[in-house]
Symmetry: C3
Subunit: 458 residues, 3 copies
């Protein structure tokens, strides 16, 4: 499977513009963890890839949590005494504290003041704030605008509903040869914020689109879910199914100009960790590996101790470390077509490595086989050998049943694709055979170091 | 248990002055590995903490050694022909080669010369020299003084006794909830040397005093013993009891102005090693970890291969590396009140971490529990979280039965106290339970990698 | 066994000159992987050490290979139209593509041209090229000479034979106390190239000569074999015997002025790896350790996955990295007497460490034994101790059955010889006993991590 080579045959600038256009289409929607914003978003994704939509009723218990009421908003504003909308939801859906309850009152600025969220250090930006689990209302605005508000009464209106409804999420399942799954998870609950996480949504959608046209070794499951409560809900409904998850990746904040960061799984040494590290090292200009920490995106839930799934997180700039994070400055200019295309390219590299990473057995393990008689060696003795032949020697030497191709790539310092091609050549020459592996459901004992796991297995 | 916070409420300058005063009281006594000097020292310590005194007769076989004869000294001098005491034990007890046998003779300088120990590189300092196991006599003096001695006869007198007697040591045992013990060991055999090891004696005494007023998880055993032969004697008499020693620390040379050094146990990866490294990293300005070596203080005996106990050594400047070591320059000016107080503070930090370091089980291991509904999370979504909440997430994520609080502190990079407080909060919210551990005596199999250990267990 | 000390008593300059003289004697011979050149070479080695010669008929199957026809050459030249030998085998045997079939024709330069190998970047050097496994003919010459050849016809003659015959190799077996073997392997198939590998041949011969006069713990097997096919042939004929190989070293390129390089075994953590690293660190001025790679010399075969033997490779400059490699510039000036002697010295150091590296048991494991009463300690207390005593403390502390003397040397930072002497002193004082180890043939289970190994064990 040569996904990367195929991908690189395209006009990458055009690919990037396509990704950015899709982000632009999704940008204006006022999403939240429930409601019509996320429904509309999922429908637009469904225009590109098959998506199964789930709706979970408010009040459903999901582990320690309860699915909240559904929130929808129609309008919101603050009018001054002249009737002018000084703060207007129509101009930016960030202006409303997300999940604000309905309000329509007139009140003096003094009273309104503590309902107004700003960022004094970045006085022109509107912050993004939420209050999902505590009924509240409020507005977010630029600090400079706040300073212009004169004393006096203001008409405050939030025309929203909060009531029994559904939590909505979408799943794209691409069956492969094996029931073992690769999980790709994105949160789809943020309103007009581009990097966090429209970048993840559009790259995941494009990746799913590409994979949907291929024969696959693994099955792939793409989740488009509200952050935190969505992952918790999905896990609660799929508690036993998670045993099929062999590798996983949370995609978030991959459209900005920062260098790549891969946050390792809680276990820290799984195959997805090894693959991501290898691909970033060989295929990106600069990248950093981060140890797991329990704060971040939905890897928090997948890597909670009861699940401890092999799910890492791919980012460019790390959340919370760039000033535009969770503000109106995380807009469509903050993400760039070429950066989205580059992120898609890396995701494809990761998938290609997962798909092709196998263990082989050298069928001629005593001494080197004679490559020359198979036309796999250089013709004239005495000269040094090239990378291709070197890769063949590495694969032969380490294909002892213990080393995967990725282990061989890492030990040799050669890129995975070079090692993988060498293995193909050697296998077609009859020098290697594939070692078949048990499916995840039969490999449960390998994860049993975590005693909580046992509970999971009923 | 918040020992450190309690300690820091005191006036630390005053604490330091108190420690230094006690060192000053002990300083003039002529101690040795046996005799009235160490007896008097132990009695003075007994004025502050409960101490059980043991006396072991000369001639008692202790492993490969024999308890030596008891040594006492009353006076010693070298008089010149005018009758003037040119070297006088009354002025410094370092003047006598410790354990010198009795002598009273007149002899020419030429003959006396090879009995006189000096340090030419530090010509104003008197060296500290001993001859415990080979009957000998001699004097130690400043090299510059030696140079002033004129040829001629000198009256040499050492009024000492060496005969059947006792080896004396003191033990302060503070029983805790568990029979598992923390061993704190100090050598108490050096005469007028302040850093080595009055600093250890006074800090250990103050620590015992503080702990004696507390409910303790572990039992604590403070040993005030002659170096080498004292540790060997104690181990010989407590050969089976050592199975209760769960953690241990030799305290020595902790009054000077050098930065801290912690010498690891022979095993190198025990809990006391982890605790000491953590506390030094977070609570001292600069500190260095040293690998175990078989030369040093009484950790040599505790870490001999037959015992291999988890006993490390806390120092400031490392013995033998500072010029004042084993000379008259290691005097009361060489140790400072604030340095003694700082050393006590670190010891308290180590004890606090040992006391509070437990394993917990997350009772809601599937996904994160909802901290918000328990008022353990920030109120407004979208903002970043603080250290307190971060610590809670770490404790929840890693409380899987495998990680201790200290493991969590190390992995998160947060100070132990922060992690420990988070665990208390979570436990009182019903999210964690303590995992109880078997006592040391039942945990013997864990140390069985050393085959000598088996002999020990009869 | 004090091989190194004994060796260093000699005049090392004279030793070096002797090694260089032997290389000079071997230099003119036109060797190849079969034929009279290697036979003559082995006879000259046999003049110094006992050598058993094996001859394996052409056509014999050895694993995936077949022993090739035997090649011999009598003369070869290119004559210009005036009858002048412009390229003459008599001047350098590198002029002929090694294994060239017989040819005698006249042809224009245009036709001859693609049969002529040169190195344009080093226009004065003749390259060394071979064509063992594909029937071919050709000449190698200086690029500058090629440029002087004028158009026109040339008489081309290679008077060689290629036919049924033998592959020849020599073995020097020195039986020791144990049947466990140390393998020293050199390739002996290169024609007039000095560093690669006359340097290896002469050092190995001198080492064998020295060891042949000693009582040895291990048995030693020196192989002088054609590269690649020789190692494969030997392994095919000794497939089961290799279980006796406990340690091994390929010697190659150890006469040039480069610093030492040790290439680790495939396992990377065997005793020969530890010994070589220790000896290079303590006994050479600068040296580098290289991880195993499957390209190089005959360690490729010994470390193929089916065998996975503990065989490393000692070099100075690494093959392929210096311009003289495989050219006429790798001549007798490129290797120096003092460098050969230094390489021999290191090999002796490695052998001494292997011979003396054992595990001891401390017979007084509880506390330190009293070294003073055995005159193994310093006389006056209070002074610091020297290296000799320090080494004794290290050996006593770590002789718990788990640590070898080399482990102790590495952990203490002291040279192996110092630790080894301390162990001898302590053993003769009754404080240590040697722990006997099972022979290799009984230790097979230890290598069983490689499943291919099992096949080997029928």
């Amino acid at each position: 499977m040569h996904l990367l080579a195929e991908f690189e045959k395209q006009d990458l600038a055009e690919v990037g513009r396509g990704l950015h256009r899709f982000a632009s289409d999704l940008y204006p929607i006022c999403r939240s963890i429930t409601g019509d914003g996320i429904r509309r978003t999922l429908r637009m994704i469904m225009g590109r890839i098959p998506l199964q939509i789930s709706e979970v009723p408010s009040g459903t218990a999901v582990f320690d949590w309860v699915v909240p009421k559904e929130w929808n908003i129609h309008d919101a504003y603050i009018k001054d005494m002249t009737g002018k909308r000084v703060v207007d939801f129509e101009r930016s859906n960030l202006h409303v504290l997300n999940y604000s309850v309905s309000i329509h009152e007139t009140m003096p600025l003094g009273e309104l003041r503590h309902r107004l969220h700003t960022i004094p250090e970045h006085p022109d930006w509107i912050p993004y704030r939420t209050s999902y689990y505590q009924e509240d209302w409020g507005f977010c605005l630029a600090h400079n605008q706040l300073l212009t508000l004169e004393d006096g009464d203001y008409e405050v209106c939030i025309d929203s509903t909060l009531g029994e409804g559904q939590l909505t999420y979408g799943e794209c399942y691409l069956p492969g040869e094996s029931e073992d799954e690769v999980l790709i998870s994105c949160h789809a609950c943020h309103p007009s914020l581009a990097n966090d996480n429209l970048s993840g949504l559009v790259v995941a959608t494009a990746l799913a689109e590409m994979l949907s046209r291929r024969e696959l070794r693994y099955s792939y499951r793409f989740l488009f879910i509200p952050g935190t409560i969505g992952a918790i809900t999905w896990l609660a409904k799929n508690r036993d199914h998670v045993l099929h998850i062999r590798h996983g990746l949370v995609l978030t904040g991959i459209g900005d100009s920062g260098s790549f960061h891969y946050k390792k799984t809680r276990r820290g040494n799984t195959e997805i960790d090894q693959v991501a590290a290898h691909i970033l090292r060989h295929y990106s200009e600069s990248a950093e590996l981060l140890d797991f920490s329990p704060y971040g995106y939905d890897e928090r839930q997948y890597c909670s101790p009861g699940f401890n799934l092999p799910v890492g997180c791919l980012m460019r700039s790390v959340w919370g470390t760039f000033p535009e994070y969770h503000t109106s400055a995380d807009n469509l200019d903050f993400i760039k077509p070429e950066q989205l295309a580059e992120s898609l390219r890396l995701c494809i590299g990761i998938v290609e490595a997962l798909e092709n990473n196998r263990r082989y057995r050298n069928l001629q393990p005593y001494c080197e086989p004679q490559l020359g008689k198979r036309n796999l060696y250089r013709a004239t003795g005495g000269e040094t050998i090239g990378t291709e032949i070197n890769a063949r020697l590495w694969v032969l030497n380490l294909s002892d049943g213990e080393h995967s191709l990725l282990d061989i790539a890492d030990r040799s310092g050669l890129p995975f694709a070079t090692i993988s091609e060498a293995a193909e050549v050697l296998r077609s020459s009859g020098l290697l055979s594939i070692i078949s592996e048990p499916a995840s459901a039969d490999r449960v004992g390998r994860h049993a170091s975590n005693p909580n796991k046992v509970t999971l297995l009923r």
